[in-house]
């Protein structure tokens, strides 16, 4: 947008000035605007290409991985980013953030930004995350904010940011329910982390056979994220 405006201003400038080549050679003087508009158009095309190309590349390589996501309920997994088949966009995103993706043989990461009903996770709401997890030797479930608040070095105790499969309290059948919310709740309470921006849940499955193929992932259950209510 900016580029186009700049170019049109430039075009005006060039058109207003008598071009030096036209002054020297009177023969070309009959069509002076033809040459200057060509120059302006070429310049415009170059600027448009460079501007749009850089801006779109920047936009496409920040934030989430654009391709290869497998949706499972409210969760999304990117099984291919931990392998050599990772697409160029995923590689560029990792290179910009310094991320080291979990390799396929190590485990699999599932993230959720929405609840079961398709609504965005709201930091002011209470949720319950319950059900079963895909088979894995261990898993951790954490809540993240897009812009986390800086943690003071002497903050004690460190607020809980997640649960591991070992420490979680389970019911008689081996199931679990995590209560995510801004206020204290009984059971497995996961406080909404302080900070700014969108809330995201991350389920990391370690040493899991489902990483090998996404078909297995679809058959196995993932925990359901249900909204209970919101504090006004």
């Amino acid at each position: 947008m900016n580029t186009t405006a700049k170019t049109s201003r430039m075009t005006g400038m060039i058109r207003g000035m008598p071009s030096p080549a036209a002054m020297r050679r009177p023969r070309v003087r009959s069509r002076p605007s033809g040459r200057t508009t060509t120059v302006a158009l070429v310049l415009y095309a170059l600027l448009l290409g460079a501007g749009l190309g850089l801006a779109s590349a920047n936009w496409a390589t920040r934030g989430r991985y654009p391709f290869g996501g497998v949706a499972l309920g409210a969760w999304t997994a990117w099984p291919r980013i931990g392998s050599r088949d990772a697409d160029p966009y995923a590689r560029a995103i990792d290179a910009r953030t310094g991320e080291v993706p979990l390799a396929l043989g190590e485990g699999l990461v599932l993230t959720a930004t929405q609840d079961e009903a398709g609504q965005r996770l709201d930091p002011g709401c209470r949720y319950t995350i319950s059900g079963t997890t895909p088979p894995a030797r261990a898993w951790t479930l954490t809540a993240e904010r897009r812009h986390p608040a800086p943690v003071a070095a002497d903050a004690a105790p460190v607020p809980r940011t997640g649960f591991t499969s070992t420490e979680i309290l389970r019911d008689r059948n081996g199931g679990f329910a995590i209560a995510l919310g801004p206020t204290v709740e009984p059971g497995n309470w996961l406080p909404v982390p302080s900070g700014e921006g969108a809330l995201r849940l991350v389920l990391r499955l370690y040493d899991t056979p489902v990483a090998a193929s996404t078909g297995v992932l679809e058959r196995e259950g993932v925990p359901a994220i249900t909204r209970l209510g919101c504090t006004p």
Binding site: A45, G53, A57, G98, V100, L102
Partner: protein
Amino acid sequence: MTPFGRFLLATLSGLVLAGLVHLTVVLAIPYLSGRDALTRSRSTLSNDTSVLVHPARVGGPVEAAGDWLPPQDPAAAIGVCAYDLDDGPVRVTAETGPLLESLSLHGRGGAYYAVTDQAAVRGTLELVIMTRRQFDEALAEAGEDERNRDVRVVAPGREGYVVVRVLAALPSQQAMANKAAASVSCTIDGPDE
């Protein structure tokens, strides 16, 4: 050609150019970035053991560590050690403990190998990373009856890094996980071996 037609042609060529620029930039970012894990891990090249880059934060004071990774699992301690196969094959040895531990090998093109502590033999995970040429040489040099028990992994490139993740499943395991993540040895395999 009408002025509008010329303008349309210029816009079209601008868009085609934008597409080319976009693709080139996206493909070039991993090579030009100064913040990617390969570049950041290079400072650990001279170390004989892995360096803790993300301490576990499950309870108690957080251990100081180089923190260039984006937000990671708070329960995982992550150590990194870079390798350069120019000086010879690299032997990676990890003493596994009671905690879940995994080793993954990453090159410029992404992760190419991973193994967890379930594959450990008598509490030790041992890998030898080599280039295709070093692998062929090692095969050629080996005697007929010699049996080599190393797990040899052929790396796609000369440079890369090893990532070790140790899971602290309970707050009391934090210190142990941090220690395990920082104690994986990555040494250049001597020619006599």
